[in-house]
C-alpha cells in the first residue's frame, strides 16, 4: 500500500516540476534549486516530515526530500551541539548522498569516453 502512495505522491511532485518547466520557462537547474530550498523551509516547520510519514520514498526521493533532509539534519545538530550545529548540520545530513554521487560520478567519467555529438 505504501508503494502505491509513494508512486502517487512522488509522481505528483514531478508533475509540479513539469508544470514549472512547461509554463514558466524555468530551467531544470533552477527548479532543482527551488525544490531543495522549498523542501528545506517546509522541513524547517516540520511539515515535510508529515508528508514523508505518509508517502515514504514518494516524498523523500524527489529533491524537496533532499531539502527536508538538510532541515532535519540542522535541527538535530542544533539540539546536539547548540550554535555550532547551525553550520555543521546541513552538510552532515547531505554527506552520504553527495559522496555516493561524487564518487560514482567520478568513476563513471574515468571509465567512459565522451559521446560525439551527432
Amino acid at each position: 500500500m505504501n508503494i502505491l502512495w509513494a508512486f502517487i505522491v512522488g509522481g505528483a511532485i514531478c508533475v509540479i516540476g513539469q508544470l514549472l518547466i512547461d509554463l514558466t520557462k524555468l530551467t531544470p537547474a533552477r527548479i532543482l534549486v527551488l525544490f531543495v530550498v522549498a523542501g528545506c523551509i517546509l522541513g524547517g516547520f516540520g511539515w515535510y516530515d508529515k508528508l514523508v510519514e505518509f508517502a515514504g520514498a514518494g516524498a523523500s526521493i524527489p529533491l524537496p526530500g533532499f531539502g527536508n533532509l538538510l532541515a532535519r539534519g540542522v535541527k538535530k545538530a542544533v539540539d546536539e551541539r547548540g550554535f555550532l550545529g547551525v553550520i555543521t548540520g546541513g552538510f552532515t545530513a547531505m554527506a552520504g548522498g553527495v559522496t555516493v554521487a561524487v564518487v560514482f560520478g567520478y568513476l563513471a567519467a574515468l571509465i567512459s569516453s565522451p559521446k560525439h555529438k551527432k
Binding site: G10, L32, I61, G65, V74, L110, P114
Partner: protein, 147 residues
C-alpha cells in the same frame, strides 16, 4: 490550392491544439516516470526496514542504490534517453541529481581531470548544494533562536 489551404488550416489547428495537450502529455509522462522511481525506492525501503535497519540508514541506502543505478544508466547513455520523454519525471527525483553530476563529468572529461571532471561535475549539483546549505543555515539559525 485546396490542399494548400487545407494544410494551412491544419497547421493552425495543430498550433492551437498542441501547447495545452503537450503540457498534458508531458505531465502524464513525468507522473508515471517520477512515480515509478519513487515506488522502486519504496520497495527497497520496505526491504531494508523489514530487515531491521534504522529509518535514516534505510533511507540513505535507498538513495545510494538509486544514485548508483542512475549513474550506471548515465554511462550507458540510457538516462538521457529517458529524460527526453520523462522531463521532470527524471529530473526531480534524486536520480536526476545523480545524472546531473555524472553526465557533465563524462562530457567534459576531455578538458582534464581537474577542471574538466572535477569542476564540471558541479555545474548543476553545485547550485543545489550551495542553496541547500544556505537554506539549512537559515533554518538552523531560526531553530536555534526560536526553540
Amino acid at each position: 490550392m485546396a490542399t494548400q489551404s487545407d494544410k494551412k488550416q491544419y497547421d493552425e489547428m495543430v498550433k492551437a491544439a498542441s501547447p495545452a495537450s503537450t503540457v498534458g502529455v508531458n505531465c502524464i509522462k513525468a507522473f508515471l516516470v517520477g512515480g515509478s522511481i519513487c515506488a522502486i525506492g519504496q520497495v527497497f525501503y520496505n526491504m531494508f526496514h523489514n530487515r531491521g535497519f534504522a529509518k535514516e540508514d534505510a533511507g540513505l541506502m535507498v538513495a545510494g542504490i538509486l544514485i548508483v543505478t542512475a549513474i550506471i544508466l548515465t554511462v550507458l547513455g540510457l538516462y538521457n534517453k529517458l529524460g527526453k520523454h520523462a522531463g521532470a519525471g527524471s529530473v526531480v527525483p534524486i536520480t536526476g541529481f545523480a545524472n546531473a553530476i555524472a553526465a557533465p563529468a563524462i562530457e567534459y572529461k576531455k578538458e582534464g581531470l581537474v577542471l574538466g571532471v572535477g569542476a564540471k561535475m558541479f555545474v548543476i549539483a553545485g547550485p543545489v548544494i550551495v542553496y541547500g546549505a544556505m537554506a539549512s543555515v537559515v533554518v538552523g539559525l531560526i531553530y536555534y533562536f526560536v526553540k
